[in-house]
């Protein structure tokens, strides 16, 4: 499956799950910030992608929102530490952290969850087959 094919499927999934318009689902759109997804929507998206792609997707793989659990090694003063960033990159090898590294505030981590992130993740899963 090509990147574009995966993107098209992801867009269709997000349009259904989030009641948004086709043209709102751009590669850089953030699920929370731009598409107004709530935590329950993340689950819905995962379920729908699993059905679309026919393999199981551990929610923590795609949206590792709570990986740090306040662990002081990984989070300090509301920011993700260097070891935390390394951990994050290990968990999400398909995520581009360049921008995020400049101001790695925990409360901005949700901005990492973009349409492209889902596409890249799925691409890595499809390729691994």
């Amino acid at each position: 499956m090509t990147h574009d094919e995966i993107f098209a499927k992801v867009r269709a999934t997000l349009v259904d799950a989030l009641n948004v318009d086709d043209n709102e689902v751009t590669p850089t759109a953030r699920l929370k910030g731009d598409l107004n997804a709530e935590s329950i929507d993340f689950l819905d998206i995962v379920f729908r992608l699993e059905r679309q792609f026919g393999f199981s997707i551990p929610r923590e793989d795609l949206f590792p929102e709570s990986i740090f659990q306040g662990d002081p090694k990984f989070v300090a003063g509301g920011k993700i530490t260097e070891p935390g960033l390394v951990e994050l990159q290990t968990r999400m090898p398909y995520a581009d952290l360049t921008e995020f590294r400049k101001d790695p505030r925990l409360d901005k981590m949700e901005d990492l969850f973009t349409v492209d992130l889902i596409v890249n993740y799925l691409q890595s899963r499809v390729n691994a087959k």
Binding site: E38, I40, D41, D44, F47
Partner: protein, 253 residues
């Protein structure tokens, strides 16, 4: 008819409050699946009474305390009617004893039925309502005993207090998907459950405590459940509605 073509599940529908809820929902046009535990005759009689009135009520035998019951009943209802718009968690039991005499079995039976049963049925309908339908109503039958102390009801009060808390958290989690979750807290209602207390305290003694000077009838609760299930309650969620003729006001004289 406010609930035309909707599908409802009512646990504990064979007797008492649940029976009145089944008939009231069906009269509003809903197809109602109801769960009973042991009263087969009463369940069949209710099916027949509904059918004779041109209403749809179908009995399902299950013990709500059995962790598999929720999924099994919901799957059967989906196979029959393809959706679930309304869930009324009404099945409940009491095992009243002073705490020093209370055994683990008394505790577990009450928590297992009144709380774990609610969990299992909510869980069983949740994905259908949240992801497939994006709409639904869950109505839990609680009790004023959650917040107003009756000695001998530690297990029962704990179960109903937990149901109220569950109601609020579920309401917050599911609201964005238009699944509304509320509870009704009855006071003294004339059913088999309250018969022992009524016998011991005497009806006159009880009526003195109730500002409207009568015990409640199952229909007094059923009408509120119908309201919470219907379009008039579209903006209510996470609430525990007390229906007790003023009993919990605690007026002294």
């Amino acid at each position: 008819m406010t609930l035309k073509d909707q599908v409802a599940i009512v646990t504990g529908g064979s007797r008492g409050i649940g029976r009145a809820v089944v008939l009231a929902l069906a009269r509003e046009g809903a197809r109602v699946a109801f769960v009973y535990k042991g009263s087969t005759e009463a369940a069949q009689a209710l099916e027949a009474e509904a059918a004779a009135a041109g209403l749809v009520a179908k009995a399902h035998q299950a013990d709500v305390a059995d962790p598999a019951a929720g999924d099994r009943v919901v799957a059967a209802v989906l196979a029959d009617w393809g959706r679930v718009d309304i869930l009324v968690n009404n099945a409940g039991v009491i095992r009243d004893k002073l705490f020093v005499q209370l055994e683990a079995d008394d505790w577990n039976t009450v928590i297992g039925t009144n709380l774990n049963g609610v969990f299992a049925f909510c869980k069983a309908v949740s994905k259908q309502m949240v992801f497939k339908q994006r709409s639904g109503r869950i109505i839990n039958v609680s009790s004023i005993a959650a917040d107003h102390v009756n000695k001998g009801q530690s297990n029962y009060a704990a179960s109903k207090g937990a149901v109220n808390s569950l109601t609020r958290v579920l309401a917050a989690e599911l609201g964005s998907r238009n699944v509304l979750v509320n509870a009704v807290a009855p006071g003294f209602i004339e059913t088999d459950m309250s018969a022992a207390v009524r016998n011991m305290a005497g009806e006159d003694g009880l009526k003195k405590l109730i500002p409207v000077k009568r015990l409640g009838k199952p229909e007094d609760i059923a009408s509120v459940v119908v309201f919470l299930a219907g379009p008039a309650a579209a903006y209510i969620t996470g609430q525990v509605i007390t229906v007790d003729g003023g009993l919990s006001l605690g007026a002294i004289s």
